[in-house]
């Protein structure tokens, strides 16, 4: 009973509270001096707050707060929120991504007005994500999903004099509003047939549901899945992703494609495993496992094939992030009722999201660095970049090969465990599609590497500055990607333990 006896229950929400307080502190700083462009102060406060939240989450995770060993999950506010290993694991992902994005934004936003707003919006979105991973009721899930989405719309349109940014923001907002309404309609249908919003009550009410209501329940589950597909940029709600990532400032793209996607998966895992248990759902004829299997294959294939045809690096990364959503969906697709392998599959998905958080954030931050230098956006513009900036290009090479899943990097193990656990659970066809797609992805990832290292530069660009913040963030991401290779053992162990607790 470590921690649960030492600290009051509400402190289990510590990471989310720290993030929210940091956002408010930034508002106060901006109120005192609205015209300030003191990037060091604003970025510093944000990084300190985020790292504090990360530290608390990691400490809780190490101490076993909310895990089986210390008395099980901690529920708060009449079970509306729950703190367990999974929510802490995901909070650690969100806060690490946010910290890297803040460090990079120090340079990216330099001398821009409205900097405090940027940092507080990212912090509020991160708060929403932390709450999303902790929600135990469809009501809190919806509210925290909105808390995550609304700042994201504003962040995508942050460069308000840039047509691309504003257009991307509007598209993102329109599709987001549509999918939010689909999601909330799904919640209302599930509430109509079960009479509860709490996941556990929904599950037990579905267990003795009148067969005549199963159509309504099925449509509700389908619509809720649609809401999550939007947040995770999976087919069929993926159309916003390339537009939004390309138009948004690159640090925001990094944040959305890594943290926001992980948040969508966090809540999807909990809702589908806890509220719609597989055995009950299959009895009702709502076979969401099969639905996610099809979605996973379609998402990864579409994402990778579309990425292979891109000329713009940022757009290629956007489609590759759709492809990775497909890989992670295997975590929901390779489950079967009561199987002992369920925890392994879901845990492998979570571990992949952690590694992905580092390598994908790093890749987008490299694009931010290139945008900062004013070098163009296509593959050709990257020609010969390695001669001018060998360190950054070496880091980008690490990200690219890690995203492709080549051996000496973190991405290799996470993909390997994901596919191996799918085979172990008897879903070899998912692993086969995943492996085929990974092979294809090597083609377009290596195009970036080839452009940077092998192609001759036309000598038209001049790298004028060495932005410290962007460099530091990219290096942290690269070191994270590399360290996660030898350090993958504890990560996958933690992930699979906390995932198994979800099925218990």
């Amino acid at each position: 009973m470590l921690l649960q006896t030492q600290l009051p229950q509400w402190t289990a929400l510590g990471p989310a509270l720290i993030l929210a307080i940091t956002a408010l502190v930034l508002f106060v700083i901006d109120s005192v001096d609205p015209d300030s462009t003191d990037s060091a102060l604003l970025a510093g406060v944000s990084v300190v707050g985020t790292l504090a939240a990360l530290g608390v989450a990691a400490w809780f995770l190490a101490a076993g707060t909310g895990q089986v060993g210390t008395g099980g999950e901690i529920t708060l506010f009449r079970d509306a929120l729950v703190v367990d290993g999974m929510s802490l694991f995901f909070t650690a992902i969100f806060t690490s991504v946010a910290a890297m994005v803040f460090v990079a934004s120090y340079d990216y936003l330099k001398d821009r007005p409205d900097q405090a707003e940027f940092y507080s919006l990212v912090l509020l979105a991160t708060t929403g994500m932390a709450l999303l991973a902790s929600s135990n009721s469809l009501a809190t899930a919806f509210i925290s999903l909105e808390l995550t989405s609304l700042p994201s719309y504003a962040l995508v349109a942050y460069l308000k004099r840039n047509r691309g940014s504003v257009e991307a923001g509007l598209k993102y907002f329109l599709i987001g509003a549509l999918s939010s309404s689909v999601f909330v309609f799904g919640i209302s249908l599930v509430y109509a047939v079960t009479g509860s919003l709490l996941f556990s009550d929904v599950a037990s009410a579905l267990g003795d549901l009148d067969q005549s209501f199963r159509g309504v329940a099925g449509i509700g589950v389908l619509m809720i899945a649609g809401g999550f597909a939007f947040k995770t940029a999976s087919v069929p709600f993926h159309f916003w992703a390339p537009e939004a990532y390309e138009g948004a400032p690159a640090p925001v793209s990094a944040f959305l494609s890594s943290a926001s996607k992980a948040a969508g998966f966090a809540v999807a895992f909990r809702v589908f495993v806890e509220a719609f248990p597989i055995a009950t759902a299959v009895d009702l004829g709502i076979d969401w496992v099969l639905a996610f299997g099809i979605l996973a294959v379609v998402t990864m294939t579409l994402g990778n094939f579309a990425a292979a045809t891109q000329e713009n690096v940022k757009r290629m990364l956007a489609y590759s992030s759709i492809g990775h959503a497909g890989y992670v969906l295997i975590g929901l697709a390779a489950l079967s009722a009561g199987a002992a392998t369920n925890g392994d599959v879901l845990g492998a998905s979570m571990a992949h999201l952690l590694v992905y958080g580092f390598m994908n954030t790093g890749a987008f931050l490299f694009v931010a660095l290139v945008e900062h230098w004013g070098v163009g956006r296509t593959f050709e513009d990257y020609n010969g970049l390695a001669e001018r900036a060998p360190m950054a290009c070496a880091a980008m090479t690490v990200f690219m090969f890690s995203l492709a899943g080549l051996p000496p990097f973190g991405g290799f193990f996470s993909k390997y465990f994901l596919f191996a656990s799918a085979i172990g659970a008897g879903f070899w066809w998912l692993a086969a599609f995943g492996a085929l797609n990974s092979a294809l992805s090597l083609f377009y990832y290596s195009r970036v590497v080839k452009a940077m290292w092998i192609e001759e530069s036309d000598g038209s660009f001049e790298l004028t500055s060495r932005p410290i913040g962007l460099y530091a963030a990219i290096m942290v991401a690269a070191v994270g990607t590399l360290v996660l290779l030898p350090g993958f053992g504890p990560v996958i162990e933690t992930a699979q333990t906390v995932a198994a607790a979800l099925f218990g």
Binding site: L24, F27, V28, D30, S31
Partner: protein, 137 residues
């Protein structure tokens, strides 16, 4: 008698009176078409230009701030209703007061931020002031 018949009769009368008045005046009045009659009426001002212009965002900001206070009221009302009885039943003052103070505190931070960043400062539309000087000269 079914009470809905009375309501239906009222609806018929309610629709019938205005329609009847319009029909009666249309039959009785002389028809004199004139350009001034078909023009847009806006408090006697002569309309200038179209309605498809960029106009001041100020009202939008005020409406956003209104939402803040609106939600605040919605949540404070039930709280004041249970406040006294909760204290009488032995809930500590801190447990009753603190959540509301935190909630209002967060809203105050938001309001102060909006105020300091000029959300309630009346911005002059450059287009309108330019037009005004043109008219005076």
């Amino acid at each position: 008698m079914n009470p809905w018949i009375a309501i239906g009769a009222l609806a018929v009368v309610g629709v019938g009176i205005p329609l009847g008045m319009m029909a009666a005046s249309a039959i009785l009045r002389p028809s004199v078409p004139e350009q001034g009659k078909s023009a847009i009426y806006e408090s006697g001002e002569i309309p200038t230009g179209t309605a498809r212009i960029q106009f001041n965002i100020q009202y939008y900001m005020v409406a956003l701030l209104f939402v803040v206070f609106d939600i605040e009221t919605v949540l404070i009302f039930p709280w004041t209703v249970i406040y006294r009885s909760a204290l009488e039943q032995g809930v500590s003052l801190g447990a009753v007061l603190a959540p509301m103070l935190v909630f209002i505190g967060i809203l105050v931070v938001g309001l102060v931020w909006a105020w300091r960043n000029g959300a309630v400062k009346w911005v002059k539309s450059p287009r309108a002031s330019r037009r005004k000087t043109e008219r005076q000269s």
